[in-house]
């Protein structure tokens, strides 16, 4: 078991190293940071001097080694664009993204479950058909269109909810949260719907399919024959067995939500890491882009490790190996 754990940890380290290498190679093609650093009207001499100063004139493998060496020591450098330590900027922006992803995934899970169960139990009803049709339309629309549509309906026409920003935030410990203020909650609704919509339909369809499957199984039929109440049958027996694959999928989806919040954050000017990433790419902010990519890779690696450990806890056969 220890060997298994060590092997998984080793694999994770390799993944991180590979991502950092790819990220590093990509920089060579996103543009020249010296132009964003010096401005369009710098002289060629100034540019050459800065290239030397930043070490861009050295061979790529050497630059990469230098970079990895610093990262291992915990030094992610200074953002070229914001002129602040990268680790600090990311830490400052992370709460916004985490809160948005959390609300989006919880909402998607809750609504997806309810709608999934409903459409499974009333699969022939008109409401179920309507829900299924809307979900198909929703899945095929791009995120930014959903976001803009919501903004025009709820912010411009009805004026119920804000079209951008995070509302008022308060500091709890080191965490800047919007979940303790009314304006924070009204600000998170539209982006959370936008971000969670796809997952909601995914969960709904999964629950519906699983539920229909379970409802056809023998133990439900025997249960019904024994005279169990429909309510207990559906929610006690059928739903419980439906949930296992749903939880696995939903857990993995949280990582995706954090990584793909880029579009939603841009549409709603949500001040999280996704918005930061987009601005960093436009500004050729190499230290920030690489740190963000490493962070997302780390996130996936950690989630996958946790899932593996969970399997280990669940499946005794793995432990004996």
């Amino acid at each position: 078991m220890l060997a298994y754990l060590l092997r998984r940890l080793g694999q994770s380290a390799l993944v991180l190293l590979a991502v950092s290498l790819i990220a590093f190679m990509v920089f060579r093609h996103i543009g020249d940071p010296t132009i964003s650093l010096l401005g369009e009207d710098a002289t060629l001499e100034e540019r050459a001097a800065l290239t030397r100063e930043l070490g861009f004139d050295q061979p790529v493998p050497l630059q990469y080694l230098h970079y990895v060496g610093k990262v291992v020591q915990g030094d992610l450098g200074i953002s070229y664009r914001l002129k602040r330590p990268v680790s600090e900027v990311i830490a400052e922006r992370l709460p916004a993204t985490l809160e948005l992803s959390l609300i989006a995934s919880l909402g998607a899970l809750a609504i997806g479950l309810v709608l999934g169960v409903y459409t499974a139990l009333r699969s022939e009803g008109w409401l179920s058909r309507a829900v299924m049709t809307v979900s198909l339309v929703g899945v095929s629309l791009p995120t930014f269109l959903i976001g803009i549509g919501l903004i025009y309906l709820f912010a411009v026409e009805l004026r119920w909810l804000p079209s951008f920003g995070r509302g008022t935030t308060v500091k709890v410990g080191g965490w800047e949260t919007g979940l303790l203020t009314a304006s924070g909650w009204s600000a998170i609704i539209l982006p959370a719907i936008t971000l969670g919509f796809y997952n909601m339909t995914l969960i709904m369809r999964l629950v519906r399919a699983e539920m229909l499957e379970v409802l056809r199984s023998d133990y439900i039929r025997f249960g019904r024959a024994r005279g169990l109440r429909e309510k207990d049958l559906y929610f006690g027996h059928a739903l419980r067995n439906t949930l296992i694959p749903v939880i696995t999928i939903a857990g993995l989806q949280i990582g995706t939500l954090i990584a793909f919040s880029i579009v939603t954050e841009t549409v709603f000017q949500w001040p999280g890491v996704g918005l930061l990433f987009i601005s960093s790419i436009q500004g050729v902010d190499v230290p920030l882009i690489s740190a963000y990519l490493m962070f997302i890779a780390l996130l996936y690696v950690v989630i996958n490790l946790l899932v593996d450990f969970l399997y280990l806890a669940v499946d005794p056969r793995l432990r004996r190996r």
């Binding site: 800065l50 804000p162 951008f164």
Partner: protein, 529 residues
């Protein structure tokens, strides 16, 4: 009813005791957030416009482009034509209460010339700044520089004592590993003081109670909230929903619709930015074409043909939706050296263009790659696609390659292009700035870094260099005209148009459009609620 009357009279009484001054908050949206508050760090308009509310410069420009006194009350050349004298405004205080003096000016100019400062290109000719007395500064330039004060409209004055005490003496170097205090804090002499700042979210500024300009400027806005909103659709939505009072960077395709809205006011004016095509006239052969061993663009007849094939009026009508000023010159009208005659452009003439191509030996045309940015200028990619269509009519098969400006500017700096779309603004409002960067031979004595055309003329170079130290205004202007004549005749740049700026606001706010996309909120007057 009685209760209501009582309540309103109480309210009125409350307001009276407050001196009748009502709190006026203005929420201001733009596409992006300034990267840092360090006034000398970046040379970008987005940074400057926000900084102008908190920091001040020696001189500023009014909406017509004329220099007006700000922290300097007057300026003139001394007996030595290489030395400018600035007289400073007395009784000016920084936000932290310290007095603004000549020492601060000297410090700020030196800081802005330092290694990490992007604005240093504007101070290239400055040799030394010296405090003569408390309120007089002498700046010595490298030879007589008639337009030196024109360079100072975005050079902000910092407090020497504050910067030294806070460890912000120099602008941060890209290679350094510590943060600079001035990145997130501000201490200027301006009408607004920084209250709070959250990157990409909001920056709140409050009126400066000690501002020197009280009584001179309206100063009606007491609180200013800057809200960056990246997505254009969301920015417009925020204006329509009433969450924002004033917005810049309005997308061209929304202008017509916003003008219809009775609740809004759209102001329009020419921008200090020309859009043009650059042509590789210096290369022996084209770099991005199937044609080998020849460079058709080196032939003046081919360049003239391209010039004649472009329908600038159609470009304005369809691609720009009426929101551009077609021009035959790569300088906007308020730049010294501009002339109406040079800005005139020909009517499209495909037949003549085809004839010129045939005369040059390309009766069947050739193929060309047009490199363009897609995130920098108004409709940049769409303009390029239209150009490809115009050139197709005369037989030049044009492939458009669109990419972000971050990559496009690398190619321009390396001069690795044949045919490219580019834009240029003139912060000094003088042609020399255009010549230094776009006309002078690339990379010779620090000039011409963005001249990717390969155009090179020793005579023109000599004329350009002479502009920096010519003490006689009439003679200098004559040289400028001489250089323009060459530029217009050689046609290594094909001008398309000048951009147009739009400011959108709620009706009671009327912000005049400034060619630099700048706003001074202290001057903004508010209508009745």
């Amino acid at each position: 009813m009685l209760l209501k009357t009582l309540f309103s009279s109480l309210l009125a009484a409350g307001l009276l005791t407050a001196g009748g001054a009502q709190a006026e908050t203005l929420r201001w949206a733009r596409a992006s957030d300034p990267t840092t508050l360090d006034p000398h760090s970046f040379n970008t308009g987005t940074n400057f416009v926000l900084l102008h509310q908190m920091y001040e410069t020696l001189v500023t420009r009014d909406a017509k482009g004329k220099l007006v006194p700000t922290l300097a009350t007057s300026w003139k050349l001394t007996a030595d034509p290489s030395v400018w004298e600035f007289k400073l405004r007395p009784n000016v205080k920084f936000h932290d209460g310290t007095a603004f003096t000549a020492k601060d000016v000297v410090f700020s100019l030196q800081r802005a010339k330092g290694p990490g400062a992007q604005v240093k290109s504007l101070l290239a000719s400055m040799v030394e700044a010296k405090a003569v007395d408390e309120l007089t500064v002498h700046v010595k330039t490298n030879g007589p520089n008639l337009i030196f004060p024109d360079n100072l409209t975005n050079l902000f004055m910092m407090s020497e004592a504050w910067a030294k005490a806070k460890g912000a003496e120099t602008t941060q170097d890209p290679a350094s590993s510590t943060e600079n205090f001035a990145t997130r804090n501000a201490n200027g002499t301006g009408p607004y003081m920084l209250a709070s700042r959250e990157q990409d979210s909001r920056t709140v500024m409050k009126a400066n109670p000690q501002y020197w300009g009280k009584g001179q400027a309206p100063l009606q806005i007491t609180e200013l909230i800057y809200l960056p909103i990246k997505s254009p659709a969301t920015r417009v939505a925020a204006l329509l929903s009433g969450e924002v009072d004033f917005a810049q960077d309005i997308p061209a395709q929304d202008v017509a619709r916003l003008k219809q809205d009775q609740r809004l006011r759209i102001n329009e004016g020419p921008e200090n930015r020309s859009i043009f095509l650059g042509l590789n006239v210096g290369g022996k052969e084209l770099k991005h074409s199937s044609l080998k061993g020849k460079n058709p663009l080196a032939d003046p007849r081919v360049r003239e043909a391209i010039h004649l094939a472009i329908d600038r009026d159609a470009l304005k009508r369809s691609t720009m939706r009426g929101l551009s000023i077609p021009s035959g010159m790569i300088a906007p009208s308020f730049v010294n050296g501009y002339s109406k005659a040079m800005a005139a452009y020909p009517k499209v003439d495909s037949a003549k263009a085809k004839q010129l191509l045939a005369d040059a030996g390309y009766p069947n045309g050739f193929d060309l790659t047009l490199h363009t940015s897609n995130d920098r200028y108004v409709n940049d990619e769409a303009i390029s696609t239209a150009i490809a269509g115009f050139l197709g009519r005369i037989g030049i098969k044009t492939t458009v390659v669109a990419r972000p400006i971050a990559q496009q500017s690398v190619a321009i700096n390396n001069a690795d292009l044949d045919f490219y779309l580019y834009g240029w603004g003139v912060p000094t409002y003088d042609s020399a700035y255009i010549f230094d960067f776009l006309v002078h031979t690339r990379g010779k004595d620090g000039r011409g870094p963005t001249n990717a055309t390969g155009f090179s003329s020793a005579e023109v170079d000599k004329d350009i260099v002479s502009l920096a130290s010519e003490p006689d205004k009439a003679k200098r202007d004559a040289t400028i005209q001489r250089i323009w004549n060459v530029v217009q005749k050689e046609r290594f740049y094909i001008p398309l148009h000048d951009q147009v700026i739009h400011f959108a606001s709620i009706k009671r706010i009327d912000v005049p459009v400034h060619p630099d996309n700048a706003v001074l909120f202290k001057d903004v007057k508010l209508g009745a609620k």
